[in-house]
Every structure is written in structure tokens, then in C-alpha cells.
Symmetry: C2
Subunit: 149 residues, 2 copies
């Protein structure tokens, strides 16, 4: 017999799904308008900007950006054409490819980060106090524990 | 001066973004495998199944599914071709279109719901107790209050 969601679960689920559907478009919209980047483009550049030597293996970058390798390769190719990153054979493993943020890519992240963070604060954190943030962290960690099994 | 996220906000944000990126694919994957529906297809049919007379104006259905009208029209057209819904001129307002779930669409929702709910329970609610669910509901409501201004 099917175990349905109870009323409280159903109410929380509807809200979570709405956030999941609406948030990416809202993030994309500010970044496209102000930096001609999708959120995924920005996140890819931001992950490289925080890596040692601003370089990561493509497989590691795919994991950090919650992406498949084909999707990441497609995006990396466009970002490479725009001069924000470069791909090369990994010096330690000739079968692997690494991506490196260029100086122009670094400047792009530096120029784009304040507007993006302002949007995240405005859309997500403006009405959350420290205890809400701790609850959000705990609950998302539990959901990820299931999603990433 | 840019006000950055503090460490707790940053940690919660990374987790929320990962859920936002990964959850839709996980929901789609079960529904496509078991019912040849995307999550958006299913959600559209489910919203109609709960409406009076299993009928809604397309504008109301777009709002319920957090969708633009063009995106919904595209999906509705495919669902209509598969025999799950029908569109007609609204009897009260000739400029408006209504969508009605067909009997085949109703049977599709009835057949698909248990597997989908099982997936939602398994991926999202399995490790959340009643207090987590209440926290999730409260926090998502606050975020939606910002996103939907």
C-alpha cells in the first residue's frame, strides 16, 4: 500500500519544489543581465577561482558543479572561447584534462561576484536569521545524504 | 562595499544549490523510466487532477506549476497529443483557454502517483523528522516570500 505524504510533508514539499523551480531562473536572470553568464557558467568560474593554482581536473570540476562531464565540457568550451578558461592535458595523467581560470576569467569572477552575492542575499537570506540558516544547513545536508547515495 | 555571506550562510547556500541542481534530475529520472513523463509533465497532470472538474485556466495552471505560459503551452500540447488532457475555449471568457484532464490522464496520474511519492519520500523525507519538516516549511516559505515579490 502506498504511504502518502502527510499534510505537513505535503505542504513543505510544495514549497521546496517551488523554490527548486523558481530559484535557478532568478539567479540566471541577474547574471545574464549583468554579466552575460548563466548561473552554471558563474559557478564553474567561481569553483576554479577557489582552487589551488586556479586549476582543477575536469572530473573534479564536474563533481563540484553537480554536473555531468558532457554538460561541463560543453560549458567549458563556450567559456574557453570567451577567454575565461583554458583546458590542457593533465601533467600527471595524460588521459585527464585540467581546466585553468585565465586572468580574464579571474577578473570576470571578481567583477561579477558582488552582484551575484547581493542577489543571493536578497532572494534567499534576507528573511533568514542565524537559526534558520543552521536549520537550512542541517536539512539540506540530510536531503543530500539521500540524493547522493 | 560588498556584504559577503558569512561562513554559515555560505555552507547552507552550497548545500541548497546542490539540492536545486540535483533534485530535478532525480525526480525526472524515476518518472521518465516508470511513466515516460518529466516531473513537469507529472506536476501539470497532478495539478489538474486536484482541480474542480479536473479543469483549470491555462494561466492558473501556469501559476500552480511555477511556469511561464509559453513553456506550459508547449508541454500541454505534448500531453494533449498523448491523450492526457484537452484544451478548449473558456466558456466564461472567450479569450481564455482551459485545460481539462481526460479520463486517460486521470488514470495516468493514479498509476504514476505511488512511484513518484515513493521517490519523494526516499530522496527527501526519509531522514527528516516532524520538526525538520516544520523547519523546512518555514524556511521555504520565507525564501518564497522573497522570490515571489
Amino acid at each position: 500500500m502506498t504511504e502518502w505524504l502527510d499534510d505537513a510533508q505535503q505542504a513543505a514539499w510544495r514549497k521546496l519544489i517551488e523554490v527548486v523551480e523558481v530559484l535557478p531562473g532568478a539567479l540566471d536572470s541577474q547574471l545574464r543581465r549583468d554579466a552575460e553568464l548563466s548561473h552554471f557558467d558563474y559557478f564553474t568560474l567561481a569553483m576554479l577561482s577557489e582552487a589551488p593554482g586556479r586549476t582543477l581536473r575536469m572530473t573534479a570540476l564536474a563533481e563540484l558543479t553537480n554536473s555531468s562531464l558532457p554538460r561541463l565540457s560543453h560549458v567549458a568550451s563556450r567559456l574557453e572561447q570567451r577567454g575565461y578558461l583554458e583546458r590542457a592535458q593533465c601533467p600527471d595523467d595524460r588521459r585527464a584534462t585540467v581546466a585553468t581560470l585565465t586572468e580574464a576569467g579571474w577578473q570576470k569572477v571578481v567583477a561579477t561576484a558582488p552582484g551575484h552575492v547581493g542577489t543571493v542575499r536578497d532572494l534567499v537570506f534576507a528573511d533568514l536569521d542565524a537559526s534558520d540558516v543552521a536549520d537550512l544547513d542541517r536539512i539540506m545536508a540530510r536531503v543530500l545524504g539521500r540524493l547522493n547515495r
